[in-house]
């Protein structure tokens, strides 16, 4: 299966957007070679601001730029882009509803070598808790590109969480992306899996394995974690025996939390949340090794599905 890194797609998308829209500005905190925002700098040096290793100032400076009609994208590793400037993102940008776009690169465990300090298992939870913040998790490079475009024209702050590694293509170039829409990637009738990011391909793999065992699994890519179309989640859940969520994030406050919130008052249906079990990340020699260590595999999704429908 063809693959591409989301961060390369992200940098390319910024350039594409910058060419069409003179108001696009990009701010970076010395990680431009990792986030790939450097591609924008090469094309549009006047609209690129290296803010030094000072994320809080970068976020508030972006607010000022937005207040003069610019559309800023700010970049850092996900853990810093959300954690080091939570207050700035909340106070000035989100309360005022400014169109500041935040890119959390190397999200989840994808910066496998650098360990817990550089990995983000809680960024979806923190960003999701800010009123009015949009939270996006692309499944592949193609969706990343479309998301960047959608973010620029979407009023209010948006957070995009992208993976450092090459991931398989799941979406088609010609397809559309709309913020807030749920995208089924595999049909099925017994169990419904809501997944995003790297876990979509694992869920599809699990579904294929389970098909051979007589269990029909539908997989939906929830690349917009917020705003979540709660009614669509409820409607989609009708008729399924159980629901499983799968994400490369803490089980607290991420996709699983969002789905549980959507179903909390209206649906009496078993729900299992698969993710990182309230633990920090750790270093490893490669990404796959970490995904196995934290139980973020097709086998883990399969086991979770079988357990919740009592077929262990």
């Amino acid at each position: 299966m063809a693959t591409k890194s989301q961060r390369q797609a992200y940098g390319e998308a910024l350039v594409e957007l910058g060419r069409e829209n003179k108001n696009i500005v990009v701010l970076e905190a010395d990680l431009g070679k990792s986030t790939m925002s450097i591609l924008f700098q090469q094309q549009f040096p006047d609209r690129y601001f290296e803010m030094g290793i000072a994320e809080a100032n970068m976020a508030s400076t972006a607010a000022g730029l937005a207040l003069t009609g610019k559309t800023p994208f700010i970049n850092s590793f996900a853990v810093f882009a959300t954690g080091r400037c939570f207050d700035q993102l909340r106070q000035t940008i989100s309360i005022a509803g400014l169109n500041v776009n935040i890119c959390g690169s190397s999200a989840g465990l994808s910066d496998f070598g650098d360990g817990s300090t550089h990995q983000s298992v809680e960024d979806m939870a923190t960003m999701r808790s800010i009123p009015g913040m949009t939270v996006l998790v692309p499944v592949d490079a193609i969706e990343t590109r479309k998301m960047v475009r959608a973010m620029a024209s979407h009023p209010g702050p948006c957070y995009i969480r992208i993976n450092r590694n090459d991931l398989p293509f799941f979406t088609a170039e010609e397809g559309e992306f709309t913020i807030g829409k749920l995208y089924p990637v595999r049909e099925g009738s017994d169990v419904l899996v809501f997944a995003n990011g790297v876990m979509v391909s694992k869920a599809v793999e699990a579904a294929e394995a389970l098909a051979g065992e007589g269990v029909s699994v539908k997989v939906v890519n929830v690349s917009t974690v917020k705003p979540l179309d709660k009614q669509a989640v409820i409607d989609m859940a009708k008729g399924f025996k159980a629901i499983v969520t799968a994400e490369e994030h803490s089980v607290i406050g991420g996709l699983g939390g969002a789905i549980a919130e959507a179903l909390s008052e209206v649906k009496n249906i078993p729900l299992a949340i698969l993710g990182i079990d309230d633990r920090f990340g750790t270093s490893a020699t490669n990404y796959d090794e970490l995904l196995v260590h934290y139980g973020l595999t097709a086998d883990a999704v399969k086991a979770k599905i079988k357990k919740i429908i009592g077929k262990e």
Binding site: V25, D46, A54, L67, T92
Partner: protein, 278 residues
């Protein structure tokens, strides 16, 4: 030197702002940031009623100058200035901080005409001002951005991140004003957490520095004009002020960082201000 008529007008405006603060925005038993609002009355009056290009009938005028209150807790003085300038009816002042009010506890651009950004989480205003100044420069506008910072607020590290960035990007359409009233919420800054020496810090970060008496209108006018001449670097005006200025019992009194007046104090405050009328 500015004409005496200008100085007289601005002194009268500063008094007017304090009267709004005492009569309309606080009053008996109503908690409000009296101290830090009164310390900056002359600075705010000079900016809104003389220095800045702005239009209360068109708050979104593209080439307006911008004012940011980084020390957002001093919102009362900004509300007084905006009401006095005609951004909204003066009756709004009586409703400050009540449910559904246009005037929130701290500046909120989504609710109050003339407020340029949401401030009050201290240390962020200078960064926002830098972003605005860069945005205006990208658009080729001659507008200036003024940001008022408290001296207690200088303890926030983000101030110095922004100070470095402003010098690095040679943001000379930016003027920071430090309202140096030497008191923070819990007491004198020098006893609680000393941010001194102030001026050499800014100078070391690459800024043009100007020291003035922040209650002296001609000095404020002179400093703002001097800042216009500075090219290739940002300017900071260190304004020595008195917290609670002109209200006898509140001057240099930490209790009036965010205090409520008794009926007697309210009468005293009104009488103090009446004596300044000419």
């Amino acid at each position: 030197m500015a004409p005496q008529t200008t100085i007289d007008l601005l002194e009268a405006k500063a008094l007017r702002l304090r009267e709004h603060i005492v009569n309309d925005l606080t009053g008996v038993g109503k908690v409000g940031h009296l101290g830090g609002s009164c310390s900056s009355a002359e600075i705010v009056a000079t900016l809104y009623f003389h220095k800045m290009k702005h239009d209360p009938k068109n708050p979104a005028l593209p080439d307006r100058d911008r004012f940011l209150l980084s020390k957002g807790h001093a919102a009362l003085v900004q509300y007084a200035a905006l009401a006095e300038a005609g951004y909204f009816p003066k009756e709004e002042m009586k409703k400050v901080k009540t449910l559904g009010a246009m005037l929130q506890g701290h500046p909120d651009m989504t609710k109050t005409p003339g407020v340029e950004a949401n401030t009050g989480s201290l240390g962020q205003g200078l960064s926002i001002a830098c972003g605005m100044a860069l945005g205006l420069r990208l658009d080729g506008l001659a507008s200036k951005v003024y940001v008022l910072i408290g001296d207690g607020e200088l303890a926030e590290g983000q101030i110095w991140e922004a100070a470095m960035a402003a010098a690095y990007y040679k943001i000379d359409n930016l003027v920071a004003i430090v309202d140096r009233n030497r008191l923070q919420a819990t007491g004198p800054i020098c006893e609680r957490f000393d941010t001194n020496p102030v001026t050499p810090k800014w100078a070391a970060f690459g800024w043009e520095t100007i020291e003035i008496d922040g209650h002296d209108i001609p000095a404020i006018l002179g400093a703002l004009d001097k800042a216009d001449q500075v090219k290739g670097k940002p300017t900071v005006i260190i304004a020595e002020t008195v917290k609670g200025k002109c209200i006898s019992f509140a001057e240099n009194n930490p209790a009036f960082h965010n205090g409520a007046m008794t009926p007697e104090q309210w009468e005293t405050a009104k009488s103090d201000l009446n004596k300044l009328r000419r």
